[in-house]
Amino acid sequence: MEKLSVKIERANSEVVDLFEVDYTKEMTVLEALEEIYRHHDPSLAYRFSCRTGLCATCMMIINGKPGLSCMKLAEPSTNGFLTLAPLPKGSTIKDLVKEL
């Protein structure tokens, strides 16, 4: 199965976590996170609700730019990794979860 390399810069963590996720065509960033929660790391924290780009709770930094994880397709940037981080503004509760 094709793999996608996902790097997650979790809040309050010095190390960047790397996950090799089973990749399916047209997979969104949110689906990649769901894969990680289910099969790699049950402690990963991220927010989402509507899955259709309306609630904006799934917003994070995706390959260096802010974006909705349910709307962005999971694609590596030029460095070969899909890199995720919490939004820089405001306080972060855990990993990718902001105080809302």
Binding site: T24, E26, M27, T28, L30, E31, Y37, R38, P42, S43, L44, A45, R47, F48, S49, C50, R51, T52, G53, L54, C55, A56, T57, C70, M71, I93, K94, D95, V97, L100
Partner: protein, 556 residues
């Protein structure tokens, strides 16, 4: 266990969709101290955010529209199960509640003549649906209400706290035990009254239009507190929802009245089911027709049928821009592609039984929005969920303000239900088990999807009940591999507990209804019975009891 920290308020409102927020504003305006809590982010976690339009009566209404007209449509749609008192209140209060929202800053979408744009909706005899923020009515309502809430010092919001159970003293509700996910701390919120506004049950099914939080917690909480559930078998499947791609599976296609549906043989099958209205019929009939095509082998390999919207694309783009763009972005070009669609769990007409003020049979417990039952009967008309939220949210908020609470006897600090007990035990020894909570949720979704979908049988319902018992036992075998703060595992576990209880109520109610009516269709009793009755579910000392009760206002 050491005693829990207690927080005091007049009114605790659980859930911050349209119903919970409307209740917060009206209760706040009446001077009550209000706490509105949500297991997700306040105002951003319920079905409300996804709603497109609202049914309305107002200055913009068509000349032929009226309270009576609206009332007739709801009555017709409810298949004899809609409560006459609730219908009357909805039709009579709606215009005033909309005016209030407009006063607070809600701006309705306008047409090219700068008049309020009024849209037709299947099942409504007259066009009466309006929207805001270009077809994002739910979002617009929530934003208006959040602004209002933020301006009131006596209304406090609290995100990321999930409710474990409601608490009673001498038969009167006096608060709830909640769990703050940000600090992993349980709290006891002590209040005069509680309003449950926790939304619906979409997540009990594998394919749903609903957001992640719709795990049916309110029904489970209400049952455990002694409230009755009415007509829980009445689950509305949105007939036309995307089957693929996976990332947006369940997305409602609201423009089906502008589309043609074809089976895998290329037949426009609605000509056989509804020769007069074709695709523009009520949701229950359309869902049953589509599910029948699929069940009889005329569906696609993914279990859907085809939708062709190419004939009315301009209207689709204009009235439903969000859905149109989402389809386009995920590779469905509606100008030339046929989308693959099927029924997805969308709404529950059944719910906690309450009167016109949202008062349940348990003193101090109120309910509003999708968690309440009785209004929509066997089929909810499109755009009538938001109208329900704003009308009954307001009434529940005001009625709860008048409740004199139990001040003298603060509730005991020890958990009262088996489920909370199990939860607190698990948190203390999380690794004593072997099943991950999300696996249990998925198992439950599979059971309901397979056996309690659009088409049901005695056999499938019996099987579901049996399998749900197994899931209930497996809750005790859950292992929590991550118990830090903001743990999805913990959230999944609490939700799984509520889901099992609510699922059992749905299946048990479905077994009680020995006929096909509204959204409940069983091949063992394919006809509507001449006798009209409600199904009722109660919980007595952890045992679920099922029964029926006569409808108000006689048979029809």
């Amino acid at each position: 266990m050491k005693s829990m920290e207690v927080i005091k308020t007049n009114i605790l409102i659980i859930g911050s969709g349209a119903a919970g927020l409307v209740a917060s504003v009206y209760a706040g305006q009446a001077g009550a101290d209000v706490f509105v809590i949500d297991k997700g982010a306040v105002g951003k976690s319920g079905s409300t955010v996804g709603a497109v339009q609202i049914a309305s009566l107002g200055a913009w209404s068509q000349p032929e529209d009226s309270v009576e007209n609206y009332l007739n449509d709801i009555k017709e749609s409810g298949r004899g199960l809609s409560d006459p008192e609730l219908m009357n209140i909805l039709a009579n209060d709606l215009s005033t509640r909309l005016e209030d929202l407009i006063d607070w800053g809600l701006k309705l979408d306008l047409d090219e003549n700068k008049e309020v744009a009024v849209f037709p909706t299947a099942g409504h005899s007259v066009p009466r649906s309006v929207s805001a923020r270009k077809g994002k009515m739910g979002l617009a309502i929530v934003q208006t209400l959040i602004r209002k809430v933020n301006s009131m010092d006596n209304v406090r919001k609290w995100s990321d706290v999930i409710t474990l159970e409601l608490v009673k003293t001498s038969g009167h509700i006096c608060g709830a035990i909640v769990f703050d996910q940000k600090t992993n701390t349980p709290y006891l919120i002590h209040s005069n009254a509680v309003i449950l506004a926790t939304g619906g049950i979409g997540q009990l099914y594998p394919i749903t239009s609903n957001p992640a939080q719709t795990t049916g917690d309110g029904f489970s909480l209400g049952l455990a507190a002694g409230a009755s559930l009415i007509d829980m078998e009445q689950v509305q499947f949105y007939p036309v929802s995307l089957v693929t791609p996976h990332s947006i599976a369940g997305l409602c296609i609201s423009f089906y009245h502008y589309s043609k549906l074809y089976n895998s043989r290329g037949e426009r099958f609605m000509t056989a089911y509804e020769p007069e209205f074709l695709e523009n019929t009520t949701r229950d009939k359309l869902a049953i027709a589509i599910a029948t095509e699929i069940a009889t082998g005329r569906g696609t390999s993914r279990g859907g049928v085809y939708l062709d919207a190419s004939g009315e694309l301009d209207k689709v783009k204009k009235e439903f821009p969000h859905e149109f763009t989402l389809c386009t972005d995920r590779g469905i070009d509606l100008a030339k592609d046929r989308a693959e669609i099927g029924p997805a769990a969308h709404f529950i007409m059944g719910g906690i039984q309450a009167d016109g003020d949202g008062a349940t049979t348990v003193p101090g417990l109120y309910v509003a929005g999708e968690t309440a039952g009785g209004l929509h009967g066997g089929n909810r008309l499109g755009n009538n969920a938001l109208s329900e939220c704003i009308v009954f949210g307001a009434r529940a908020g005001l009625a709860a303000t008048a409740v004199e609470g139990i001040t003298s006897a603060p509730p005991s600090n020890s958990p009262q239900s088996k489920m909370t007990d199990l939860f607190l035990k698990k948190i203390q020894s999380p690794t004593n088990g072997h099943i991950r909570p999300h696996e249990l949720k998925e198992k439950l979704q599979g059971i309901l999807g397979e056996n309690v979908g659009v088409i049901r049988t005695n056999e499938s319902l019996g099987k579901a009940l049996q399998q749900l018992k197994e899931v209930e036992v497996e809750l005790e075998q859950v292992k929590l591999s991550s118990t830090g703060v903001y743990s999805r595992e913990i959230l999944d576990f609490i939700e799984a507990g509520h889901m099992v209880r609510t699922a059992q109520a749905i299946v048990g109610a479905a077994i009680q209804r020995k006929e096909s009516r509204g959204a409940h269709f069983t091949t063992d009793y394919p006809q509507m019975s001449s006798e009209t009755y409600h199904t009722i579910v109660k919980l007595d000392d952890e045992t679920m009891e099922f029964g029926t009760s006569p409808v108000k206002g006689g048979d029809r």
